[in-house]
Each structure stands twice: as structure tokens, then as C-alpha cells.
Amino acid sequence: MSVDLAITVQGLTKDFRVGLAGHKLRAVDNLSLNIPRGQVYGLLGPNGCGKSTTLKIILGLVPATAGKVSILGFNSATSEARRRTGFLPEAPYFHKFLTGRELVSYYARLSGVAEGDLKSAVEAALELTAMTEAGSRTIGTYSKGMLQRIGLAQAIVHQPELVILDEPTAGVDPVGAAAIGRMILAMRAQGKTVVLCSHLLGQVEQVCDRVAIMDNGKLVLEGRVDEVLARRDRQVISATDLTAPAWTAAEAALLAHGAKDVSISHPRRSLEELFRELVKGSRDA
């Protein structure tokens, strides 16, 4: 087993028993994955494809029917593995009567942060998630975006080597989502491995180094983002101040050299980029 791997999943299968008759429902089917250290890894797939179940098995919250999962070389069901892992569940819910700072301290203590390091660890996590000011408010007063960020703070407070984020931007506006994206990149810069489970493909594309796509419990695609997105059968020529005669001449030249399906269009920015540009300066706080 390579020490460069954050997570290894081998032949993972999970069956659920449903109904009174106990019919078998296969949620994950013979899945094998190797997630390298120090990268942002996207786990994608439609609803019900088995990605949340996979995450729960990785975190030891659900036992596997078959297969092996290890985190940083430790069996995923052990507390050694969980000590090195941070987790933000989808749409997290926290005790509303606690302040953000109390909540992060609570989870830091559960994660084994020593009392002497507690204050600095909590403040560092709050700072990274831009929650230092809001940390004194009770969680009941938080917006959805702040809940996600405080959830992220509790996930990273014990400086885990691996951070697993399940839909971290669900229900968050694009500004908040972009902020979370930046936090993910900051974590990668600190050498952490981030596993990101999301429906926002644009964000995944922006922050992930590698992606895996699941469907019906099976892995259908896995690789580096730029590799899996590149269309090797097509090329793009980009230019500014291109006049109509110049384009006609260029098209003729391309066709003369055997090129097919030659077309011209304006490059587009994403709606997310446009939105962020327009609402620049607005903060979710």
C-alpha cells in the first residue's frame, strides 16, 4: 500500500435490505478507488448513485458488505483513521444553543486536541473559514452559508490530513460557494487531501485535481480533471480582432488541410463568473 495514497478502496460492495421481505438493494457495487494525498478529489454522480454511502463507509459510519477501505494506511473503521480525518456532512445541523466558537471547541475536544492547543486551533479554524467575528454568536442565528462554514471549521479544527466534504455548497449562494471553493484550495495548499462530493460541476471543475464519476453504485470514470474534460478529437483556435475576411481565409486554409466541422463562436464565461463579478463586495455574514 502506497504511503502517497490518502484513501484506498478495494472491491467495496454495500447491500441494503429493504422492506419486510428483506430484498437486497445494492448501493455500491465492487468499487475500487485510489485517492492520492495532497489533492482535491471530486466524487460525482447523480442522486442515489452510491456516493454518500461510499463516504459513510469510508468514515466507518456504515459497515461494508464486502471490500476493504483504508485511510492513510489505517483501517477506516478505527479511531486512528478518524483522528486524521475531518468530515462535513451534507446540510449539517448543530446544537443551536452553542456559539460557533463553543461548537468548534467541542468538536476539537472530541477530536483529541490538547487543552493547551485548543484556543489557537479553534481560532485558526475560525479564521480559515472567515468565522472569527461570527464565532461569538449562537448557531441558531446563522445563515445557511455560515452553517456550512462553521461545519467546515469543526471538520478542520484538529488539523486532519484528510478532509471529506459532502455537498459543502448545497444551498449556499455563489459568493459563499466561491468562498468555500477558496477555502478548499487553501486546505490543499496546506498539504491536506480533500474529497469533495458535489452536484455543482462547475465548482468541482474549478477546484478538483481528479474526479471520479459513479452511477448505479459503479465507478464509470476516474482521472485528472483536465484529462477527462479534454476532447482529443477537437481543437480550439482563439483570437481577438478577427475580421470576416480573415475568418473566411482561415476557414478555407483549414478545410484545404483536411479539417472537418470548422465553426466559429465567441468564448463564453460561466454564469457563476458573471454573478460573482456583478455582486462583488457582497459578503455572506
Binding site: 468514515l59 459510519l61 479511531s79 483522528r83 456532512p89 445541523y93 448543530f94 446544537h95 469543526q154 471529506i164
Partner: protein, 282 residues
């Protein structure tokens, strides 16, 4: 090893602390403690309904009965509610993704709930003790004036009663946790928990039959033996009247034996809860 235990206890204590803070904020807790306190305080005013008992006995029974009844309801609902809130709100997901074992989670939940129940029991018993002590003083003065023998009241007996009731509620909380650990819904846990409490309160009937009737058939005797082993005897903690008003009727060592039995039940039921919860999918 010592450090591991220390760490484990620390995590358990923090889960207990948060559970306690969550429970103590519940309106249901506030409502029941106020209702029970009102019942205890008003017991003196209801004494005219009494027939042929010592007046203090009526007051004690009224107060002890209120603590018993509302304490049972509180334990049943609060334990199941706090457990299922963690599962349904998915805070258990965040919690158990940390290096927290499921045993620590359950032990923390139990300790937090038990601490709140301690507040309930000791507050109400303190109020009841005050009410009884006040009325006792008046009755002693009246009896002395009339040349009669004054009634007995043991404040330490009332304290012993509080301890036994706290243990009894601890047994119920552990029982509800054991049921909740395998139950799929809050309602199921409440219904089955209520039936278990009922069975525990009536277990003494089987126990008495087993101890007294010697002419039972082998099958019936075996059946009684089995249910007296499986169902906890909750009636053994109901000796409040005797402890407070007639200490001489309490056999030596009875309080200790009941306390020990309560502690053993709590441990065994928590182990059962842990085994049920061990492989539960969160």
C-alpha cells in the same frame, strides 16, 4: 493505556455535557418539573382528602407519587428524544465521524440524561423534604400540646429515597437507550419503552409468586424464573414511605442492596445498548 482511558472519559464527559445542556433547555423538562413541584407543594392542601392515614404519610405519598409518575414520563420521553434527535438531525454523523466510539457516544448520552434526571429528582425531593419538615414541626407541636406521641420523620430517609429514585430513573433511561439503539423510530422507542417500564413495575408480582408459592409446576416456575431474570424489578426502589416515615420497617442493608441492584441493571442495560448500537447504520 491510562492516557487512552483518560481521553475516552474526556470525550464521554463532553458528550454528556452537551446532552445535559440540550436537555435542560427543553420546555418539556421545565414543564414537568414545574408541574411536579406544584403537586408536591399542594400536597399539604389536599390532605383533607385523606382517610385514616398519618397526615405526613398522605403528604409523602402525594409527593413521592408525583416524583415517581412525572419522573418516569420525563425519563422515557427525554432519553428517546435526545437519542433520536442526534440520529434524525444527523449530528450523530458529525460526532461519530470524529474519533468517538459508539460506546462513548452512548455513555455520554446516558450520563447527560441522568444528570438532568438528578436535577429533577433532587430539586423535587428537596421541596418535598421542606414541605414535610414544615408540616412535621406543626404536627409535633400539636401532638405535644395534646399529650400524644408525635409522628416520625426522617430527613435522611427522604434523601435515601431521592437516591433510590435517581437510580430507578437511571435504570429506565438505560432501558430506553437499549431499545432506542435498535429502534427505527422515536415513536417505536417510546411505545416499547413504556411497555418495558410497565413490565418492570409489575415484575414484583412474578417475583413474589416465585418466592412464596412452592407448589408451582416446573414449567410455570421456569417461566417465572426466566421473566424475573430478564425484566428489571423497578418496584424495589419504591420504599420512600418506609424510609421517610417508618425507618424501623426497613431491613438492614435494603437500601444498599437496591442501590447495588440498580447500578448492575444500569451497566448491563448500557452494555446491551452498546451491542445494539455497534453496527447500526447512521
Amino acid at each position: 493505556m491510562r492516557n487512552l482511558i483518560k481521553q475516552s472519559l474526556r470525550r464521554t464527559a463532553w458528550i454528556a455535557r452537551i446532552t445535559f445542556l440540550e436537555a435542560i433547555r427543553q420546555r418539556f423538562f421545565a414543564f414537568l418539573i414545574l408541574l411536579s413541584a406544584a403537586l408536591v407543594v399542594s400536597s399539604v392542601s389536599f390532605r383533607f382528602l385523606d382517610f385514616g392515614h398519618g397526615e405526613l404519610k398522605f403528604v409523602a405519598d402525594f409527593g413521592f407519587g408525583g416524583v415517581f409518575f412525572f419522573g418516569s414520563i420525563l425519563t422515557l420521553v427525554m432519553t428517546a428524544q435526545l437519542f433520536f434527535a442526534e440520529i434524525e438531525n444527523r449530528t450523530a454523523l458529525t460526532l461519530l465521524a470524529k474519533p468517538v466510539s459508539r460506546w462513548e457516544f452512548l455513555a455520554g448520552k446516558f450520563t447527560g440524561v441522568w444528570a438532568v434526571l438528578g436535577i429533577f429528582i433532587f430539586t423535587l425531593t428537596f421541596i418535598l423534604g421542606l414541605v414535610m419538615w414544615g408540616r412535621h414541626q406543626e404536627l409535633v407541636a400539636l401532638a405535644e400540646a395534646a399529650g400524644r406521641v408525635p409522628p416520625d420523620l426522617s430527613i435522611s430517609g427522604v434523601a435515601a429515597y431521592a437516591l433510590l429514585q435517581w437510580l430507578r430513573l437511571g435504570v429506565i433511561a438505560a432501558m430506553v437507550l437499549a431499545i432506542s439503539s435498535v429502534a427505527r423510530s422515536f415513536l417505536f422507542a417510546i411505545v416499547v419503552g413504556a411497555m418495558a417500564v410497565l413490565a418492570g413495575q409489575l415484575q414484583w408480582i412474578a417475583q413474589e409468586t416465585l418466592l412464596k408459592d412452592k407448589d408451582l409446576g416446573v414449567v410455570y416456575q421456569s417461566f417465572l424464573w426466566l421473566i424475573t431474570r430478564v425484566i428489571p424489578n423497578l418496584q424495589q426502589f419504591n420504599i420512600g414511605d418506609a424510609l421517610a416515615l417508618d425507618v424501623s420497617s426497613v431491613t438492614n442493608g435494603a437500601v444498599w442492596a437496591a442501590s447495588l441492584s440498580g447500578c448492575i441493571y444500569i451497566i448491563v442495560l448500557l452494555v446491551l445498548a452498546g451491542l445494539g448500537f455497534r453496527r447500526r447504520e447512521i
